[in-house]
């Protein structure tokens, strides 16, 4: 139990840092700094996911959130101004209201959440345990996440691949692929 308690404090520290970065993002006006801080936010959440043993999710968060999306935001930022315009007070109040209501709803729902690591929680009780039990015989692959993603739920991942393809297609149709310069010459 002593080990468990220690990692718990690491989680608290990471969440506190996430909150600090979040507040810093709200208070800043310089878009470059904000983009960099969103990258930091992703990296911190990736560290937190590692601490929660969700290594595959952490990997994706670090690569997509801290890597690619930061670069894409920088690219988008270069097309617009470097500082954001100050907003009127009325907008602040509406935003605050939305945040408070959402926060209250989440706090209200918190009571129904299973305790972290609870073996009887729905995630651990039903089909998840079946995958853990069946993977060594069915797939014979040590990484159960890969087994679920690519084999048991291969059809879902096929759909996800086409979602990514559709996203690329949408951007290509709207903005082109950036190959127009060569085509003109």
């Amino acid at each position: 139990m002593a080990n468990l308690d220690l990692t718990q404090y690491l989680d608290y520290a990471l969440i506190a840092m996430l909150v600090v970065v979040g507040i810093a993002i709200i208070r800043m006006k310089n878009l470059f700094a904000i983009v960099m801080l969103t990258g930091t936010y992703s990296l911190l959440s990736a560290a937190w996911f590692v601490s929660l043993d969700a290594v595959d999710v952490a990997f994706t968060e670090a690569a997509v959130g801290a890597g690619i999306s930061t670069v894409l935001m920088l690219g988008a930022m270069l097309l617009t101004a470097r500082d954001c315009k100050p907003e009127g007070k009325a907008r602040h109040i509406v935003a605050l209201l939305v945040v408070v209501i959402t926060g209250a709803a989440l706090l209200y729902a918190l009571g129904d959440m299973p305790i972290y690591g609870d073996p009887n929680s729905p995630v651990n009780a039903y089909v998840g345990m079946d995958y853990v039990a069946m993977t060594p015989n069915d797939i014979n692959v040590p990484n159960i996440v890969t087994a679920v993603l690519a084999s048991y739920r291969g059809f879902d991942t096929l759909g996800e691949t086409f979602v990514v393809f559709t996203a690329g297609l949408g951007v290509a149709l709207l903005l082109g692929l950036g190959g127009r310069k060569e085509e003109e010459n």
Binding site: V55, D56, A58, F59, T60, A63, V64, G67, I68, V71, L72, G75, A76, L78, L79, D138, I139, N140, V141, P142, N143, V145, T146, A147, L149, A150, S151, G154, F155, T157, L158, E160, T161, F162, V164, F165, A167, G168, L169, V171, A172, L174, L175, G176, L177, G178, G179, R180, K181, E182
Partner: protein
């Protein structure tokens, strides 16, 4: 005149091959360790994007032409769905990898099937990320030296 950002250029020239190798490691080791086609695709795309950031988008477009990216986006989905079609033709269900290899005791068919569909995911993800980056970068003037 000395090219600007000499440290960035030298360091990234050294790092990019390792990033690519790491991307392929994440892909081919996805059965045993965290990661898979999606993460590997993002890492490979990140390597090319880093190259584009340091050496300019035109140099990156010479290394990975936009026409390849355009083809790869669709090719990945084709590889994935094609694996399903192959299993259908070999007498199994759609995406039922067991029929791909007769060695059922080691589940070799599953290993082959997972590798094939992950290759499809890798191709699509790499190319889509690059396509989005090229689309944005094609509209942006190159970052001037004062803005670094």
């Amino acid at each position: 005149m000395m090219p600007p950002h000499i440290v960035l250029r030298v360091v990234s020239k050294l790092l990019i091959p390792f990033i690519v190798v790491f991307g392929f490691y994440v892909h081919f080791h996805g059965d045993y360790s965290p990661g898979g086609g999606f993460q590997a695709g993002v890492i490979l795309a990140a390597a090319v994007i880093l190259y584009a950031l340091i050496f300019g988008v035109d140099a990156a477009k010479k290394a990975v032409p936009p026409s390849w990216v355009r083809i790869g986006m669709a090719l990945g989905g084709l590889i994935y769905a094609g694996t399903g079609i192959v299993t259908l033709l070999m007498g199994g269900d759609f995406l039922d990898y067991d029929v791909l290899h007769p060695d059922l005791s080691h589940k070799s068919g599953q290993h082959i099937g997972i590798m094939c569909v992950e290759l499809g995911v890798l191709t699509t993800v790499t190319c889509v990320m690059l396509a989005i980056f090229y689309a944005f970068a094609g509209r942006t003037p190159d970052i001037s030296d004062e803005d670094w």
